[in-house]
């Protein structure tokens, strides 16, 4: 497997300069991270065993490029921005995998111009809303309640990647800023109308969901399935919202099987 490298792109008329992590060998996939920033390191490594993984940071998150989020007004801009980013990477119609907030964006990208996404994998994506199953706003959920909301193992070592610890000032700033930048596109309720666009998705789609996801109950897996033509659902027994951190190998195998199949 090729060593991981990092590339800084110039996108959106030279106004946004995201860092992209590139690793692995094989057909290309784009991985879009969730609301806490690019923290799914082990999953990327696992995916790299089968694919060339391109993992961009969402606008504004890259160190030194914090103000660039201002160049994008809304979801429409963000979707076009990602086509621009694909072009800069020379990707015509890659498989796109996204988790949580990244899954919501992946869905929007696949629905807006269906020719730009070859295959689509949504891992516990945000983007839909049911009044009978309201989604907690994890950005303002008390820190003490986050482990139970997001993790299966409430002492998992990767919990520190999402925990605001005033003793770790750099981490505090990094996590807060990532939540702020991604929050821009989903505040105050993560429903920007994706439901009415889902029918446009042409890419073969896999929806992966943890059966014990407390943030996004698995009832939402069915909502996505109903909206996306031909979509398949893979429910993970005992899986929580942060599966990419807790079960990277198992998750990567599921993703690889679908994309290669």
């Amino acid at each position: 497997m090729a060593a991981a490298k990092e590339k800084t792109l110039s996108v959106w008329g030279d106004k946004v300069h995201p860092k992209v992590r590139i690793l692995g060998d094989g057909p290309p996939i784009v991985y879009l991270h969730g609301g806490y920033g690019p923290i799914e390191t082990e999953l990327l490594d696992e995916l790299g065993k089968n694919f060339t993984v391109y993992a961009p940071e969402h606008p504004g998150i890259t160190a030194g490029d914090e103000d660039s989020y201002k160049a994008l007004d809304d979801m429409w801009d963000l979707v076009l921005y990602y086509y621009d980013l694909f072009d800069k990477l020379g990707l015509k119609s890659p498989a796109v995998v996204g988790h949580s907030f990244g899954g919501m964006i992946a869905g929007e990208i696949a629905a807006t111009d269906p020719t730009r996404v070859g295959k689509l994998v949504l891992i516990s994506p945000l983007g839909l809303w049911r009044d009978d199953s309201p989604i907690r706003n994890y950005i303002v959920t008390p820190q003490t309640e986050l482990p139970a909301l997001l993790f299966k193992d409430q002492h998992h070592p990767s919990l520190k990647r999402i925990t605001l610890n005033p003793e770790d000032q750099d981490g505090f700033i990094r996590i807060t800023w990532a939540l702020g930048c991604t929050g821009k596109f989903m505040w105050p309720i993560p429903d920007k109308g994706l439901r009415k666009r889902l029918h446009r998705i042409a890419a073969p789609t896999l929806i992966v969901w943890g059966k014990d996801d407390k943030l996004l109950p698995a009832v939402y897996a069915d909502e996505f399935r109903k909206g996306i033509p031909g979509a398949k659902v893979h429910l993970v027994e005992g899986g929580a919202h942060m599966m990419p951190l807790e079960e990277p190998a198992r998750l990567a195998a599921t993703v690889a099987k679908f994309i290669k199949g």
């Binding site: 807060t176 702020g180 930048c181």
Partner: protein
């Protein structure tokens, strides 16, 4: 020196176990469990009566502000209160200080330009235009504005309001957040070119910069005493110096809790339980709400996390164990006999270099009668000693022009001769 009475309009009767039973005083305290609308009606009327009483007793200005879904202060539209206060204080030389209508939550923001103009017209040109960015709780959590957009919306609303007040021509506003094809507000303010602008802040680097750049008065609204306040105000004065503005103390406002009684010992008897109520219940805010991620821009976030927060968290963690003496010694509240309050308040004003002081004379659960006592003692025993401070040396460019002269004489019963 100008001193204005600030009022938050808190719910004065939260249950004893409030902080144990509920996780936040703001955003999600359940109204139907906690509040009684008949009582609330009484509170609004007391709030107005207390501010009007302070005006009668010679205070320089009276302030109201805006909060939402907040048991410690719930004047969702401060302009409703301000218009009553303007009417009730006509004939006096007291300023109506709107601290004020929150810019990013008012859509379109010319609504504020219109309402402030109404208050300025009703009051005969006595209004100060506070222009708050708004808290994260109010703007992001209660009113649904994305945190990271709040400041941009604020800047745009500010520019739009100032232009709407001043432009003799009808104009089109094609902004990022607001699009208005024919801006031509009726009425316009009496004060020309526009009422003085005060910017309330809580220590964000960007707000210091903004206030200094626009030559507005920056007001640090803090409940954490003037020692922490000095740290924030020093940061503001740095920006003033960098911007080559003069160090006019009237550029700066500060909010201080003040409680006056006959003696130091009596002050403790009168006020301690209300001070406790304020810090234990009114400031019982879920840390995740304050502020929400994205609410501070990156520079301000870094400054807060590395410089301000450690000191603030340290202070806040100590409060539960504090006794009356600690609140007073740390000057979270300047409290005591008139002589004590005079001396400590004077030191604070000089230390912070503040020309436009705001005093919170109603604190937490204070009943109406005690509030009146505090106002009476403050206005008769403390206020007169501050009249000449900074004057002769500096011009208060951030005060209504018509109110800049010496204050009118009071009649023997302490009521403005001209009032009513």
């Amino acid at each position: 020196m100008k001193i204005s009475m600030f009022h938050l309009m808190p719910y004065r009767d939260l249950p004893d176990d409030f902080a144990q039973k509920y996780h936040s005083v703001w955003v999600d305290p359940p109204y139907c469990e906690l509040a009684d609308s008949v009582k609330v009606g009484q509170y609004y009327n007391w709030t107005l009566d207390e501010l009007i009483h302070a005006a009668d007793k010679g205070i320089d200005g009276i302030c109201v502000n805006e909060h939402h879904q907040n048991a410690y202060g719930f004047m969702p539209n401060p302009d409703l209160m301000g218009s009553i206060l303007a009417r009730a204080t006509n004939g006096t030389d007291v300023a109506v200080v709107q601290m004020g209508a929150t810019l990013p939550t008012s859509n379109p923001p010319i609504r504020i330009a219109e309402e402030y103009s109404m208050i300025d017209c009703i009051s005969g040109g006595r209004m100060v235009a506070g222009m708050p960015l708004g808290t994260s709780q109010d703007v992001n959590l209660c009113y649904g504005i994305p945190p990271i957009e709040q400041r941009e919306r604020y800047y745009e609303a500010h520019d739009l309001i100032l232009k709407a007040w001043q432009s003799p021509e009808i104009f089109a506003w094609n902004g990022k957040y607001f699009k208005l094809p024919m801006v031509n507000i009726w009425p316009r303010p009496i004060q020309k070119p526009h009422p003085p602008v005060w910017i309330p802040g809580s220590g964000s680097l960007s707000t210091w910069d903004f206030s200094a750049r626009h030559n507005h008065c920056y007001c640090f609204l803090s409940y954490w005493g003037n020692n922490f306040g000095k740290r924030v105000m020093d940061g503001f004065w740095d920006f003033v110096a960098k911007g080559n503005h003069d160090p006019n103390p009237y550029r700066a406002g500060f909010l201080q809790l003040v409680a006056v009684s006959e003696t130091d010992a009596q002050a403790e008897k009168d006020y301690y339980k209300h001070i406790r109520y304020f810090y234990d219940k009114c400031l019982h805010i879920l840390p995740e709400y304050f502020p929400v991620a994205g609410n501070q821009d990156y520079k301000s976030l870094v400054n807060s996390v590395t410089k301000l927060n450690p000191q603030l968290f340290d202070l806040m963690n100590k409060i539960p164990a504090w006794k009356y003496k600690d609140f007073v010694d740390n000057q979270f509240v300047i409290a005591g006999s008139p002589a004590t309050v005079r001396q400590q308040l004077m030191e604070a004003v000089k230390k912070l270099r503040v020309g436009n002081l705001m005093v919170l004379l109603h604190i937490g659960s204070m009943p109406h009668d005690l509030t009146i006592k505090n106002i009476d003692l403050f206005c008769s025993e403390v206020l007169p000693h501050f009249r000449g401070v900074w004057d002769g040396e500096w011009d208060n460019k951030w005060w209504p022009e018509s109110l800049k002269g010496p204050r009118k004489q009071m009649s023997s019963n302490g009521v403005h001769a001209a009032a009513r």
